[in-house]
């Protein structure tokens, strides 16, 4: 990629975003839309700064839940995928339930989990985990099973143990798949955390960003609602970019997907 194309990659969406924000601000001012219907971006930014104290606390809580859920999803997904490749029986008996967990809408089971689990924060974590878990499990399972058959034969020829096959062949083969799953799950963990908190409602003791959005909605503090929304989206973007960067750093030396740079 040439230098100009690299710049364009950031410049083009940046300019588009700026134009859209300007149009939004102008439209709000010209039509004198009241802030409780639609605040302009300037007002949203001002609110973000003014309410930073309460918003940052909420952001931190949401981040904690998201990353804890992602960490649990990643480690459990990886472990379970390894277990699946070691035993067909385990895979056949457990995989359908993993699918059930995946296809059941989280909004539908979140109330149950919130009733069953006393600690709200733990309940939110479980919800976020359920959403984030499946892409990692299924991607890693595919990755572990898609090793080069000739390389498998080679390992067999040299009498490699199960452990050696797993450690030296299957796990490195699965790495790109696992990282792709992780990138999807990063965003999903955030969505899971937000959705669960919405369901938990204002009664929740843990006051993350979703709680701020709900609360601001009830109080018609629409600019603050937007400010919280900006933080949610921003967090999602940062998580995706961070995981893309991690994937790029780990794979750039050998995997083709890493050659074209991040953002894919």
């Amino acid at each position: 990629m040439t230098g100009a194309a690299r710049w364009l990659r950031w410049l083009a969406p940046g300019v588009l975003g700026l134009l859209a924000l300007t149009a939004w601000e102008v439209a709000v001012r010209v039509n004198e839309v009241p802030p409780f219907i639609l605040p302009g971006p300037v007002l949203v930014a001002q609110t973000l700064v003014a309410d930073w104290n309460s918003l940052s606390v909420s952001l931190l809580i949401t981040l904690q839940i998201t990353f804890a859920a992602l960490a649990v999803a990643a480690s459990l997904g990886l472990l379970l995928a390894i277990l699946f490749t070691q035993s067909r029986v385990i895979e056949m008996s457990l995989f359908p339930y993993a699918v059930v967990l995946q296809v059941t809408p989280i909004v539908a089971i979140a109330p149950l989990i919130i009733i069953w689990v006393d600690d709200v924060r733990a309940a939110l974590l479980i919800c976020a985990w359920i959403v984030a878990f499946f892409p990692i499990l299924s991607n890693t399972t595919v990755g572990l099973n898609s090793t080069d058959p000739n390389l498998r034969d080679l390992f067999r020829l040299y009498g490699a143990s199960r452990w050696q096959v797993l450690w030296r062949l299957q796990l490195p083969s699965a790495m790109p798949y696992f990282l792709a799953g992780l990138r999807i799950s990063g965003g999903l963990a955030l969505i899971g955390a937000i959705v669960a908190e919405f369901v938990a409602g204002t009664g929740g003791a843990a006051s993350g960003l979703a709680y701020r959005i709900l609360e601001s909605g009830y109080q018609l503090q629409i600019p603050r609602m937007f400010a919280a929304l900006v933080l949610v989206s921003g967090t999602g973007i940062v998580i995706f970019m961070a995981l893309s960067l991690l994937s790029h750093l780990l794979l750039r030396r050998w995997h083709d997907s890493a050659g074209a740079g991040e953002g894919r």
């Binding site: 000739n150 390389l151 020829l157 040299y158 009498g159 490699a160 050998w254 995997h255 083709d256």
Partner: protein, 229 residues
């Protein structure tokens, strides 16, 4: 079929696709069990394990450097990493890859990848080297050079080679014994020999009249085997 291999043989299995060349090779390697009959090794328990295998594709681990790829058989056998890498580096140098130890496979050309693959097969100093159409996917110039280097290596070390190919020219250039195989059912139609004197007599064996004569003979044998099938 009944094939006896002596130590130091260079045997080519030549035949059309579907005559069971690769299957036979995999049976010798112990990767698939024979449906009938047996594959006997010398009584020495080391013999069965002392095998190197080169696949049609380089079959390298993309996440490992040339050095780590070549060191794999030793590391799987529990050789300490430092020693394994030293021996792998030596073997890579013998295959003409000095300076490329730390290159990843995707940075190497097809011929170089195949050289890493051969270095990996030879790093354990096996008595028996099994090669399954190793140069079929390479361009002719690269193939000729690899043919020459393999032959030189074999003349130095005298390991036993079973080389599967569907190229008449390659089999005559490399092998002392050529088994012409026929399909349906897979069997050995004829065995031909290229005496070592013929190869030694001429500096440019590949362009010599003797080479051409052997190629003609093998081609006829192959055509006859195909006709009979």
């Amino acid at each position: 079929m009944d094939i006896a291999l002596a130590r130091g043989d260079f045997l080519a299995l030549l035949g059309p696709s579907g005559c069971g060349k690769s299957t036979l090779l995999r049976m010798i390697a112990g990767l698939i069990p024979p449906t009938a009959g047996e594959i006997a090794f010398p009584a020495d328990p080391e013999a069965r394990r002392s095998i190197g295998f080169v696949f049609q594709e380089p079959t390298l681990m993309p996440w490992a450097t040339a050095l780590r790829n070549a060191a794999l058989p030793l590391e799987l056998a529990g050789t300490p990493r430092r020693e394994a890498e030293a021996r792998a580096a030596e073997m890579l140098a013998r295959m003409g890859l000095k300076g490329f130890e730390h290159a990843y496979p995707r940075a190497l050309s097809g011929g170089m990848k195949m050289r890493v693959s051969i270095a990996r097969a030879l790093v354990t100093r096996p008595r028996l080297l099994l090669m399954d159409e190793p140069f079929a996917a390479l361009d002719e110039i690269t193939r000729f050079r690899l043919n020459q280097d393999l032959l030189a290596l074999w003349q130095d070390e005298r390991f036993t080679v079973v080389f599967v190919t569907h190229s008449v020219f390659e089999s005559v250039f490399l092998a002392e014994r050529i088994l012409v195989m026929a399909p349906r059912p897979g069997r050995v139609a004829r065995e031909l020999r290229v005496p070592p004197e013929d190869r030694a007599a001429e500096a440019e064996f590949r362009t010599s009249a003797r080479y051409a004569a052997h190629c003609r003979e093998v081609s006829h044998a192959l055509a006859a085997a195909m006709e009979a099938a």
